[in-house]
Symmetry: C2
Subunit: 167 residues, 2 copies
DNA sequence: GTCGAATGGTTCGACGATCGAAATGCTATA
DNA sequence: TATAGCATTTCGATCGTCGAACCATTCGAC
């Protein structure tokens, strides 16, 4: 690996931050699985709840199709996913009055509580772990993470282009 | 949180970095899934290949049981996973001569190439996405990510304590 | 040494999540 | 109105995972 136009240590730093993010992803993965199992849910179900909760917080409820896109699932899998969540009383189907083909998803208190239970202890522990770092560092890290996430999304779409698939 | 009266924006910064990491985890998740599908593999199969490759690089081949532990799978699921990988010609079962109950897993070039194909374009895109940030920022981000990952692991173990695990 | 317990993997049957294709209901355009 | 197009659902099939029972091997105690 040659160093192109960068200060010495650039490649090592890139490697370090990339590896840190990868480890983080693996650990998150396991965490989600453990938490989901504890609540008798599948992993996609939990991810769905998080997306729906995030959108609900922004006051812009998700449609079924958008959810499918964010989860990388097909339409039919999304339908049965929503069936499961609705059956468990976590979300409610609401037909969009402006376009009655569309579904918007509204979260029940049950699921909101679950999302909170998911995030709260985690957020507390994170705040502790970062307590002695300056706020500026957190903002820097957030920006770096967002950019790397962008790279992940780009790679995903490139990979999807190889195998032209549903949308 | 005693930061309540602390520097303005602290809470917001915490929220921002935590959210960035969460989105990153979800996107990594989807990415693995999409990539795996493009190669006619399941997500666990791909994760398995990455673990086996990582261990092979260190010259310390994995056993079937270790693989199961790292993937969080049961024994039977691991057996059929290895069946699939072996059938596809990616790995080879080798009985450990020292303890003939044990299997060690050896990787084929096919799978090594696949692991490389997985990481290379991703690494390239990440390097591009971070090109105009100072190296120091990357190191800061790596440290922040590592600390948050520690918090995730701690939360996972706390959650596991609630529901003692069968393994 | 021999027997029982523990360990590492495998087989079998069942279930659940996802897929693809066809169907349904709705909207927009002509 | 007819028609094309879109969002979601239904249906049948497939695949990955689980749990329990099972084989082979090793270890420990007598």
């Amino acid at each position: 690996m040659r160093e192109q136009t960068g200060p010495p240590g650039r490649a090592a730093a890139l490697d370090e931050v990339a590896r840190a993010l990868q480890v983080s992803a693996v650990e998150s993965d396991v965490f989600v699985d453990v938490f989901a199992r504890a609540h008798h849910l599948g992993r996609s179900d939990l991810n769905a709840i998080m997306w729906i909760a995030a959108s609900a917080e922004q006051g812009r409820p998700l449609t079924a199709g958008e959810l499918a896109a964010r989860l990388g699932l097909g339409a039919s899998a999304t339908t049965s996913l929503i069936d499961r969540l609705e059956g468990a009383g976590h979300v409610e189907r609401i037909r969009d009055p402006r376009d009655r083909r569309r579904l918007t998803l509204s979260m029940n208190d049950t699921a909101l509580a679950m999302a909170r239970e998911f995030f709260q202890p985690l957020g507390r522990r994170m705040a502790e772990a970062l307590a002695d770092l300056p706020t500026e560092d957190l903002l820097v890290a957030a920006e770096v993470i967002r950019r790397m996430t962008g790279a992940i999304v780009a790679s995903r779409e490139a990979a999807r282009a190889d195998r032209p698939e549903p949308r």
